[in-house]
Symmetry: C2
Subunit: 214 residues, 2 copies
């Protein structure tokens, strides 16, 4: 059965982005350390056209499996770009250039309407102004018998958890302190969702923990 899933790198103090996010530093200060392990991996490097010299091993296997079978993506507007408020024009096409790594329809949550557009290799972007329930429904339909991936940021993931949309989350726990930013598990009431620990895999400098939500 298709599921709705997410994977997020978080620091020991729970942050998925660091403090002081900006266009130059979209993941915040110090957050490079959260993703160092990903940048080394074979699956990431080949996916992003960075060469075929990446590392294989348990972390690469985890990332590869998490990225399999995704038929649609839901993300918040800040994940899509730094533009705020009404769209001044349609120039901004996302952080990823002409060939984003999704290869499927992406549903972007925003308060400001914009026409959908398509890029290469199956990437299309759709703007949803009616909230996460509507975005999830459209993504679910587009994904058909494949999974829906919730890409972030923190607020979108928290909305998905609180509303019971998320079936599985893989937390890539990295043993660094960021000291500020946005936490994955925040703004959620006690007992807001039930988590079951289903898998733990130890990589080099990262722990991959899978939870099933119920």
């Amino acid at each position: 059965m298709p599921k709705t899933k997410a994977q997020v790198a978080v620091s020991l103090d729970g942050y998925m982005v660091g403090p002081n996010q900006s266009e130059e530093n979209p993941l915040g200060e110090g957050a490079g350390g959260l993703h160092e392990w990903i940048f080394k991996l074979a699956s990431f490097r080949s996916e992003h056209g960075m060469g075929d010299d990446g590392e294989t091993g348990v972390s690469d296997d985890v990332l590869r499996a998490a990225q399999e079978n995704i038929g649609a993506v839901v993300m918040g507007r800040n994940m899509f770009g730094p533009v705020r408020g009404a769209w001044p024009d349609e120039d901004w096409k996302g952080w990823w250039g002409d060939d984003p790594p999704f290869h499927c329809p992406v549903y972007v949550l925003t308060n400001h309407p914009r026409d959908p557009f398509e890029l290469e290799n199956g990437n299309s972007f759709h703007f949803v102004t009616e909230g996460i329930e509507k975005a999830m429904a459209e993504a679910r339909e587009a994904a058909d018998d494949q999974d829906v991936s919730v890409g972030g940021g923190a607020s979108t993931l928290q909305q998905a958890i609180a509303a019971g949309f998320l079936d599985e989350v893989i937390v890539h726990q990295v043993p660094i302190l960021l000291g500020g930013g946005e936490r994955l598990f925040d703004h959620l009431a006690g007992g807001a969702a039930k988590f079951e620990l289903t898998d733990v895999i130890e990589g080099a400098d990262v722990l991959h923990i899978t939870y099933r939500l119920g």
Copy 2:
């Protein structure tokens, strides 16, 4: 070589105590769920005179090992009791009755002087008004060739981490959301300490993660 160590149960959202702590509910609302796994264990039940019917297994082994070889304990005043401000008298002897589970000297951080006292089975309590550095030094001397345990609460642990006193922390990560309270890893600057993941053990409904600090 003796080390300074701590072990803490934390929720998925990082809290080691829940919201709204009180004398009736010293660990805050919902925090019972953080410790359910401990209350079942053989080592905990025998230590606390709750019978010899506890569970053995990996979590019991982890707890037993963490509690071995402790020669002194440092804790904050709230871990010792609910009394605030100057000590009205010397009636309050801690949460644990006549025979606390420490069996060694305990150093309590407080702003208010009080004479030390002794209870059964090697338990003694000493009140340190000169800050964590002094408390750690006294505990280190008392522990001799054994380990010093930092018992909590959150503020004491954070001070110990920031000042570089802690060599090892075992995080017992429990997959529940508390939604508020005090987080273990909070009020710490980015990069305030370096952590190395040294061990991961999967218990039933709890993940035991050991970090070495450097």
